[in-house]
Symmetry: C2
């Protein structure tokens, strides 16, 4: 799988370009670096912001999605309830000979199809079966694998007796804990969703693969709360022209890869949940708008064993690049797992939603109604409490004399003290725990593949490698560059006038570059992905026209300043 068919040298040239030009680089390099931590540089920082902005806008404009923000520091109790403590584990094996520690599933790569799905006993057995050598000392003497908690731990409170806490492994819990506030915001009308964009943390044992496996990463998650019993009227036919590659769970029978519309896959039950299907196609659409080559996208359904502790159906969107097929988005139906888990621990009754019955129900109940003229004198100041208790009972199930305990006191209720009667009540609806469909995005992995899919090496006449980063407009860090042909004869001044004028257009990023030959500057712009170059030349001095050069076609057009401003406004 590794580097399947990809050009390893090309990806190394890309990485070196990205570093040189300030897109991305290993963090803390001056201090020797820390594996699994990356920096976004002067260009990468803006690319990251633009990608996040596009991501956010894609969901917000649906109209029933809001953005929230919650702390990254999370108290232990929350992660115990959510199942992350005890479950969010990988296994590690220690070499008895040299004491090096490795993730067991990594040791088995190439020997087992899906080592991620094995438990510790199975992992140890596989190590033995395949005679796996220690990558450090080549011995094959492994201690039994042990679970490792991959969360960064810390303590809240600087003094003694601080509270144990962790850096969040996902942003999702913040949305679940804010559910009451989100429910109020939408006045209880399901479906609705919340997104959160921020850092997630995973204390990997041996981070590898550049931006792919990070210890601190940019996540963007969406929690979509639905009524599992209500009809889902997503119009999936809208995408009936779009064929996507699907690899269904082999356990489901359809093991082989297929090309299908989402609509058809939902109809056939390959995708088990319509909401999951809808988010799959909306995600596919977003990836395409961000500049991912859709031919290098596929969806892979999780096997039952591989599914996270909460999920009932899960599809990964995988993107192909120099690291092979990499999971970049996970779209899971988490059921009511999370809200129920927090409900159980906190006893909160705010984690539910109200569902109106289609028709109001008239319900007949048999209740136990105390006769006040008897109960009052008998129990005096306790009678109110006892009455409340009795009214909750089902009148058909009582045997007299009835002994009840309230606040550690015992009371005996005789049959003559109460009346068993039928009453009618109208029930308009009921409370239930919503289900959640979650698309979770690894922003760094997506950015890596955007860069990789945009990177082109073109052969020019002189046989030098000429590189173009064909980033989509609106996500590239610099929108326009203005070049004076020479830095004299008033050309720089005109260039700066143009820049000032264009900068008035909201949030357009435009820069000036006057150094080296015009050819070198075009090449530099192409290499960092600036879509348009504006050149001020001798003719500009005469008639105030400039040339506009397009990155991908390298076509040049001559425009008046007014035409240019108009072009930029529509950009």
């Amino acid at each position: 799988m590794k580097l399947m068919g990809a050009d390893e040298h090309k990806s190394r040239r890309l990485m070196s370009l990205l570093k040189k030009r300030g897109y991305i680089q290993p963090a803390f390099e001056l201090y020797g670096g820390v594996a699994g931590l990356y920096d976004y540089g002067p260009l990468g920082g803006r690319l990251r912001r633009n990608v996040i902005r596009k991501w956010l806008n894609h969901w917000i404009k649906l109209g029933n999605i809001v953005e929230i923000d919650s702390p990254t520091i999370t108290p232990e109790a929350v992660l115990k309830a959510s199942g992350h403590i005890g479950a969010f584990n990988d296994y590690a094996s220690e070499c008895k000979s040299c004491n090096s520690i490795f993730r067991t599933d990594h040791l088995l790569e190439g020997f087992h199809n899906n080592p991620d799905s094995l438990d510790n006993t199975a992992l140890d057995k596989e190590l033995l079966n395949h005679d796996i050598q220690c990558p450090s000392c080549n011995k094959t003497d492994w201690a039994p694998s042990e679970p490792l908690n991959l969360m960064f731990s810390t303590t809240i409170g600087a003094s003694k007796g601080g509270r144990r806490a962790f850096m969040r492994p996902e942003t999702a819990q913040g949305m679940f804990l804010q559910y009451p506030s989100i429910y109020r915001h939408f006045r209880g009308k399901l479906p609705f969703g919340a997104v959160q964009i921020g850092k997630g943390y995973r204390n990997e044992i041996s981070p590898r693969q550049g931006m792919i496996r990070l210890r601190e990463f940019n996540m963007a998650e969406l929690e979509y709360f639905i009524d599992p019993e209500s009809n889902k009227n997503y119009n999936l036919q809208l995408w009936d022209e779009v064929l996507v590659n699907l690899i269904p769970d082999p356990m489901g029978g359809d093991s082989k890869e297929l090309s299908s519309t989402i609509n058809e896959a939902v109809e056939k039950g390959i995708i088990r949940d319509k909401t999951v299907g809808w988010f799959m196609i909306k995600t596919y659409e977003l990836m395409s708008e961000l500049g991912i080559n859709t031919e290098l996208i596929r969806f892979r359904q999780h096997e039952i064993d591989e599914m996270a502790h909460y999920a009932t159906d899960c599809w990964d969107l995988e993107i192909f690049g120099c690291y092979g097929w990499i999971e970049c988005v996970g779209i899971a139906n988490r059921g009511c797992y999370d809200l129920k888990a927090h409900q159980k621990v906190t006893k909160s009754n705010e984690l539910k939603a109200w569902r109106d019955f289609e028709k109001e129900l008239e319900i007949e109940k048999v209740v136990c109604s105390p006769i006040q003229s008897i109960v009052g004198p008998q129990f005096k100041d306790k009678s109110k409490m006892i009455t409340a208790h009795l009214e909750e009972l089902n009148g058909l199930e009582i045997e007299f004399p009835l002994t009840i305990n309230i606040n550690r006191e015992q009371f005996i209720i005789e049959e003559h003290m109460v009346e068993i009667k039928k009453i009618k009540s109208i029930e308009r609806g009921e409370w239930f725990t919503p289900h959640v469909v979650e698309p979770a995005f690894g922003i760094d992995r997506i950015i890596w593949h955007i860069l990789e899919h945009s990177y082109q090496e073109v052969s020019k006449e002189n046989d030098e490698k000429y590189t173009i980063l064909s980033l989509k407009n609106n996500i590239c860090p610099i929108d326009f560059s203005v070049y004076p042909l020479y830095e004299k004869d008033g050309m720089p001044e005109i260039a700066h006038e143009i820049i000032d004028k264009i900068r008035e257009v909201n949030e357009i990023n435009i820069n000036y570059d006057g150094s080296k030959s015009i050819g070198r500057r075009y090449a530099r712009g192409d290499e960092i992905g600036t879509p348009y170059a504006i050149t001020v030349d001798h003719q500009t001095l005469e008639d105030k026209t400039v040339t506009l050069r397009e990155r991908d076609t390298q076509n040049q057009t001559r425009l008046s300043l007014e035409e240019l401003v108009q072009f930029v406004s529509k950009y």
Copy 2:
């Protein structure tokens, strides 16, 4: 100072509104809450995003500022070099009677003007002098105060032998460590700057004051790298109409508050650095655009004792609200402290900038030049190494015979082996360490004051409190709300058509509200700060016009759909 003149009840009503409507709330409330951690809810999340966006755009459009992003997890070595380990301390006192721990400066509030500036001996003396009681048990028996490291610590690497690390106390170090990349990006042309927006962490002992003193907070910092020797041509006269309130360092002589233009304050030397002055006025401008009441802004200069370990001049922008005057921005000249500190530890030569001399310098040097026909045969394969060593020496200071040590070998150089000669060399410039001016923003504190300054209670006829949140356009979470007068007669359908049309305008947030009376809906919109309400009524059914109601004036205008769309596009 506390609640000076402010209406405590009013601020409590504001806080309860913000919670109820989903702006902000204490985090993890379902789990009993954690002091110093806050959530942004469905409305607050978007307000936060909008404020950050406006902040970012304010600086990026200067043209020589870029955004970067670096990890929040920071290895110990970096923070040792930067001076945060050992210096970023507050003092804490333990009550010997009940073992409670408090920040010593907090205990002294109301008893000392500026307890923050005292060292531990002075703090202990003040505790004694003022007979300060323990807030828990009222005793006055304090143990000597001790420094506390207020950083959250963690470990990188899940296995044994992990590396000690901290959650960053500021985002600034990320910019210093990326300096080589930023310098390359701007091709070495100072001045330039980098910004970073993200989480900062401070493990407070006893967080109080709602959003003001948080353990995890949103920071936005700008590091502006300058040549301290070059002229600073900021045009401060541009703001000669603007008087700002300044409280200069009393040590400087001008102790009393004054109202002055920034230009004048720089001219008079009250503001010691022109770049600091320029960032003060640009920051003031931004605060005003964000909706802070500029009458409630003042700048306070740090006293020498109070200044952070790195700063040479520092002004706080303070905003007045229900907590009194609160520092929301710090604008510091950090000198070359940070770059030098990292240079010293890492031995990197990449943390400098090149400065051209105004005129090239012709420099005459006396050098020691080995005579190859003698040195060659004598030292054989070592002669090259010895030559390089000798050429570095100042020819005037050598005494013969000269003993030199290279790689633990000793060589004797006699006078006849070398020629002492004068040479001329041209020096075009020199390397130096840039200085840094840093405006650092506490985004949460700014957001709190935006909300507080926007909050208005208006008395209406019926004497009920009517509240309006007069947020500025472009930062409010919802831009437009569409209300059908009744949810029948086709009005909801038209409302949704309007929403679909307006949603095409990029990044406009528009919502639908059909529940309760139209008056209630106007009130709800005013309360959450939606600037415009669009109402679909009976007349809409006839002539397709709607009413547009403005929040602050409550004026209504009738517009055709075309006029409405045009209005929204210009919004």
